[in-house]
Every structure is written in structure tokens, then in C-alpha cells.
């Protein structure tokens, strides 16, 4: 049995009085690809952001890479180094060149030497197929290119798991596929991934499990075939019919 990379048990979270996560349980093992979907405001971002503790939770247990996340922990950075995160709006560092964006974390956080960091950065830029953009600034790239740089930036830290929060929903349609292709390749290389996305094609192609959330709860968790062919809950069926319509 694989040791879980991420484990959530009975997690509850409140924003003030608003109950954002309700009794969430799930496990991610090494190599798992998990897709989370659900209507807007259902708590998908909240869930994925508690995994590297950009948001704190109040009840239950979250364990990442064997470390329990809690308020008093000394070294949340140890966990965050091992967990890559890709945001909807890329959040590249606009004052650094693409290459510097990629080299920053390995050099400043891991203490990697500059030459080695540069080599790693170029390797991942080639993997996301934009090595020629290395010396540009983020503001000079298209949305799709920026998001691929953001993915490469996370990969440079050699993370054990990658989190994606709607990585394609701020992109123009013709750029969605270039980012999805990158993600599919990443999945084929065996990366452990948790993705919030409404790209159902991606879910069918790579997901081991699909999780459907509504109102802060996990309503249904299933393998993609079952999930799409034979949804168990009424709410899942409604949701699927809505997003598959167009």
C-alpha cells in the first residue's frame, strides 16, 4: 500500500461564521491524479488552498508528506517547498525575467548554485516548450505562455505534488489546450496532481478519481468512467448536465 502524500480527515473550515468546508475526507497517494469540480462558491479553491495552508482549517487533520499542518507549526515552508501550486491568474513575478522567475525559488529557498538553477530552469522551460522566451518579462508573454511558465516555476522546486486551481479559466479558448497538453504530459510522467478544473476532457483523459463538491461538502468521489456515465447523486447529475450542455 502506497503511503499517502496528502490526507484530509474530518476537515472543517469557517470564514468567520461562514462554513466553507464541511467534514472533508480524502486521500491522495503517490502518483494519483485527482480532479475536483463543482459549482462556483462550492469551496474548491478553499479546499486546495488548505493543502499548502495558504488557508488555515479549524477542525480535523491535514497531513501533507507526513507532516501534520497546524497553527503552531514551525516550518510550514518545508511543506510548501514540496507542494507546487499553480494559480488561476499565474501570479508570476513581473519584475523578474522568465528565467529569474524559475531560478528564484531553487536559489533563494533551496540554496542551489546559480549555474545549476539555470540549467534546471532551462530544462523545464524546454519541457513546457518555451525556451526561447527565457529572457522576456512575464508582461510580454501571452496568457497561455505565462501559465506554462508558472507551471515550470513550480516544477523547478521538484515538488512531490502539484496543485492546480483552475489553471485554464483565465485563458482565451485557443490557449487552453497548450496548457492542458502540458498538464497531460506532466501526468504521464507520473506527477501526483490535484486539479480544480472544469475541463472534463482533461478529467476523462488523466484523472484517477473525480471529486464533486457542493456547498463545502464532497458529494461524490468516483473514477471518471463511473463519475460521468453513472453519477450517484442528483446534484452531480444536475451539475454535469449544466457544464456538458455547451
Amino acid at each position: 500500500m502506497n503511503k499517502p502524500v496528502i490526507e484530509m480527515r474530518g476537515v472543517n473550515k469557517w470564514y468567520g461564521t461562514y462554513h466553507a468546508l464541511r467534514n472533508v475526507n480524502f486521500t491522495v497517494s503517490k502518483g494519483d491524479k485527482i480532479v475536483i469540480c463543482g459549482p462556483s462558491g462550492s469551496g474548491k479553491s478553499t479546499l486546495i488552498r488548505t493543502l499548502n495552508w495558504l488557508e488555515s482549517h479549524q477542525e480535523g487533520e491535514i497531513t501533507v508528506d507526513g507532516i501534520r499542518l497546524h497553527e503552531k507549526m514551525k516550518d510550514i515552508d518545508k511543506v510548501r517547498m514540496e507542494v507546487g501550486m499553480v494559480f488561476q491568474h499565474f501570479n508570476l513575478f513581473p519584475h523578474l525575467s522568465v528565467l529569474e522567475n524559475l531560478m528564484a525559488a531553487p536559489m533563494w529557498v533551496r540554496g542551489v548554485a546559480e549555474a545549476e538553477a539555470r540549467e534546471t530552469a532551462m530544462k523545464y522551460l524546454e519541457r513546457v516548450r518555451i525556451p526561447e522566451q527565457a529572457d522576456k518579462f512575464p508582461g510580454q508573454l501571452s496568457g497561455g505562455q505565462q501559465q506554462r511558465v508558472a507551471i515550470a516555476r513550480s516544477l523547478c522546486m521538484n515538488p512531490k505534488v502539484m496543485l492546480f486551481d483552475e489553471p485554464t479559466s483565465a485563458l482565451d479558448p485557443e490557449m487552453v489546450s497548450e496548457v492542458l497538453d502540458t498538464m497531460v504530459e506532466l501526468a504521464q510522467d507520473g506527477m501526483t496532481m490535484v486539479c480544480v478544473t472544469h475541463e472534463m476532457g482533461f478529467a476523462k483523459a488523466v484523472a484517477d478519481r473525480v471529486i464533486f463538491m457542493d456547498a463545502g461538502e464532497i458529494i461524490e468521489e468516483n473514477d471518471p468512467v463511473q463519475f460521468f456515465e453513472n453519477p450517484q447523486s442528483e446534484r452531480t447529475r444536475t451539475f454535469l448536465s449544466q457544464i456538458l450542455q455547451h
Binding site: M85, P94, H95, A104, A105, W108, F137, G139, Q140, S154
Partner: protein, 323 residues
Amino acid sequence: MLYADTVVSDPLVHKPKVIAAMLAAAAVFFTVLNLNGTVFGELMRPVIGEPAEAGYYGQFAIGVVLALLFTLNVVVIGFLKFRLQVVIVWLQLLCLFLAFFYGFNLDFEFIRKKVWFMVSQGVFTTLYVSAISIALASVLAIIGAVAKLSSNGFAYAIASFYTSFFRGLPLLMQVYLIYLGLPQLGYVIDAVPAGILALTLCYGAYMTEIFRAGIQSIPKGQWEASRSLGFKFGLTMRRIILPQSLPLIIPPTGNQFIAMLKDSSLVSVIGVWELMFLARTLGNKTFQHMEMLITAALIYWMLSMCLELIQGRIERHFRTKSH
């Protein structure tokens, strides 16, 4: 520059109505000034006869001639390119000011004798007091800004008390309080350190607010990206947040530096030999106050212009660097 439209209209000063209005207004203005007794009266002697006896006719004649010259000048400048316009208008205004000072009948020999001492002693002191103060104030401002944004009650309370107090008292009073007050507590302090301390504390308070606004203007996503890569707070601040807020922080900081250059004249009251102190004392013996004050004024002005130029350079540097 403001947003420049693609459609170019005639310059304002070439519209007949505007020219006519300008001419009329200038004529009235110069007539009312009554310049019969000045050089202009002398120059117009062939037309108006003895200036002292020319009366309203002389006044009006001089007014019309000056108005014509003025309007012609404006219209001609209106034909030139932007840069040339700027240079010429600057020079003309400068000449007006210098003529104004010239009219005081200053003793230039006296100025020539003293000016070197004023520059070597006064400018030097003014510059180093201001430069040290602005540098220390920047450090204070970063600490103050971080404290004001922190969730630590102590830090917030101390920082907000500090900015409130030092922005709330006149700088002159702070200078006195530090120079005269600290010895009461048993710390005798020299004039120069007292001056630097007062300027630092006061400007640090203003600049705290500038830095806070600069830091707050950086989107939350930059913090989230940094933290999710494992950056600690200090690293994020130093490498990600501050570099991005610099372009926002530098213009108002340059402004503060120029203000401080002149506010440093307040420390002359406690006997620091900076520019203002020398301006007040050098002319004392011979009652030649105006000479020294005007010299000091021009020196302050030139220093400020240098700073403006430097500020412009730095701003351009940051603008070209990102995008």
C-alpha cells in the same frame, strides 16, 4: 504626459479671440501698473516726452507697447516645438526673476566674497544632514510600514503612535524638543545629531505612510505565489514585494527629499552651520541681509533642481525596466 489625442487642434495662443483677449488684458495690466517712472518710461521718451509729466497718456502708451511685445512673444513661441517652447519659457521666466532680484540693488562684491564659504560650509552641511536623514528615515519607514501592516498589536500600536505623533507636531518644535528636551533627561546631544534625529523621525513618519501604501498596492497573488514556493516573510518582502513597490515609492520619496532639503533649514535655529544659518549670520554685521538670503535662496533652488533631475532619471530607469 496626459493621454495625447490623435487629432491636433490649433494651439490655444493662435486663436484670434485668445490673442485679442490676451492683448487687452496685458494692456490693462501694464497700464494700471503705471510704469512711467521706470526704465520703460525712459525708453519711451521719444513718444511720450518727459516721463514724469506724461500722466495717463504715458501710462497707456507704455501699457500698449508692452502688451504688444508680450503678445507677439507668446504667439511666436506658440509656433515652436514642445522642447524649444519649454526651454525658452523657462529662460524668460528665469530672467524675470533675476531682474526682480537685480532690482534690489545688491552688493555683488559682498556676495562674491562670501559665496564660496556659503557653498563649502553651508551647502556641504545641508547636503549631508539631509542625505543622512533621508537614508535613516527610509530605514525607519520600512520598519514602520511593516509594523503598521502587521497583525501584532504592539507593533501596530507603536508604529501608529509614532506616525501620529511625529506627523502631528511642527518640525520646528521637534527640533527644539530634541535639542533642549533630551539634555533635561541627562543626554546632552550636539546640534548636528539633534537635527538629524529630528529630521529622521519626522520624515520617517511621513515616509512610513508612503511605504505602507506602496507595499499594500502589490496584489495578494504575489504573496501567495511566494509563500507557496516556500519563501519566508523577509525574503518575500525583500525580493518580491519591495522591488515591485519601488516604482511607486520613489516619486513621493524624491518629493520628500526635496522637502527635507529645505526643511533642514529649521535646524539652523539650534546653531547648525548649514545654508540658512550662514545666510542669516553672514550678512548680520554689515546689515546686508538681502544679499545673503537671495544667494541662499538661489542655492537651495539649484540643489532642488539637481534632485529633480536625479529623481527623473531614477523614475525613467524603473519605467524602462518593467515593460
